[in-house]
Symmetry: C2
Subunit: 171 residues, 2 copies
């Protein structure tokens, strides 16, 4: 969500109407490497937290982590070790008509259509130019293009105090 938002804010600033391009390369001549392959098995990972972005983004989703990520979050140790992968699964925030009928008012919101999946992959060597993190963004299985991916690091860099990770572990 936070990553999602940061991406979208950056994209909106750039005035791009379409978020996803056909580029599949690891990097272009001007940008650092980014994640171009969806990590295997991410949907089976454990839950770190949920998040909701109100307003135009209108997003609801979850942040999951691989075993390395979960151990690091629970231990509360920074920086995250190499091998950490964090996945942010984003969906449209939609009302649940079924629930709202029961409540008699529009109060329940659930994940609707998937919008994108984003990843942070820690590899302090490969991604040295972007704080040790590789950033990934996929919509319909296709990675964001190089121009789009350039917007990730500058935003995440603002979270230096937590090793560029905005999400906190929900107990």
């Amino acid at each position: 969500m936070r990553r999602f938002t940061f991406f979208l804010v950056a994209v909106a600033t750039a005035g791009l109407a379409v978020l996803i391009g056909p580029a599949r390369g690891h990097a272009d001549g001007q940008s650092a490497p980014y994640v171009t392959d969806i990590p295997n098995g991410y949907r089976d990972w454990q839950w770190i937290s949920s998040a909701h972005e109100a307003g135009n983004l209108n997003s609801l989703g979850a942040v999951l982590g691989n075993d390395v990520a979960i151990r690091a979050f629970r231990a509360g140790k920074l920086p995250f070790p190499d091998g950490t992968i964090i996945a942010a699964l984003h969906y449209r925030n939609v009302p649940s008509e079924e629930n709202n009928k029961v409540f008699g008012q529009a109060q329940s919101f659930v994940p609707g259509a998937p919008t994108n999946i984003q990843f942070m992959v820690k590899d302090s060597t490969k991604y040295a130019a972007t704080g040790g993190w590789g950033f990934g963004h996929f919509a319909d299985g296709k990675p964001g293009d190089a121009t789009f991916m350039k917007s990730c690091f500058p935003c995440h860099e603002k979270a230096k105090g937590s090793d560029l990770v905005f999400t906190r572990y929900a107990p």
Copy 2:
């Protein structure tokens, strides 16, 4: 979230100011058995979906499932088999000041203080009187009392078409 809401709506209707009582028994003379022990390891389970309740509930959280639950959700087969356990982890829906500073507006919401954890445990014999499901509600580790727990089944019964489960699996 949905379960949380149903509980709270029922409780509000009953005019109860305090949700959690000291009762630890399996049932009283008038109600069906309910879940009085927190299932082991639920925080390690896989993610089924997230949910947000707006309005007075102001809740944000996640629904997790044990292996039996996850397999059943993914297969889309009903009814859920005995052994299914579904956990709903609820938190206050709070703004993320950290994120909002970056965005320049209040749009990011994250889980705040935990409010309660709820469970649905499928055992078609033990919980035959409540559609095969045992319902559990825990706040600060303490189960809801018998009066409170009576409100679960009547609401969940409205979801007969999905074996009393309101949550859908997020892809």
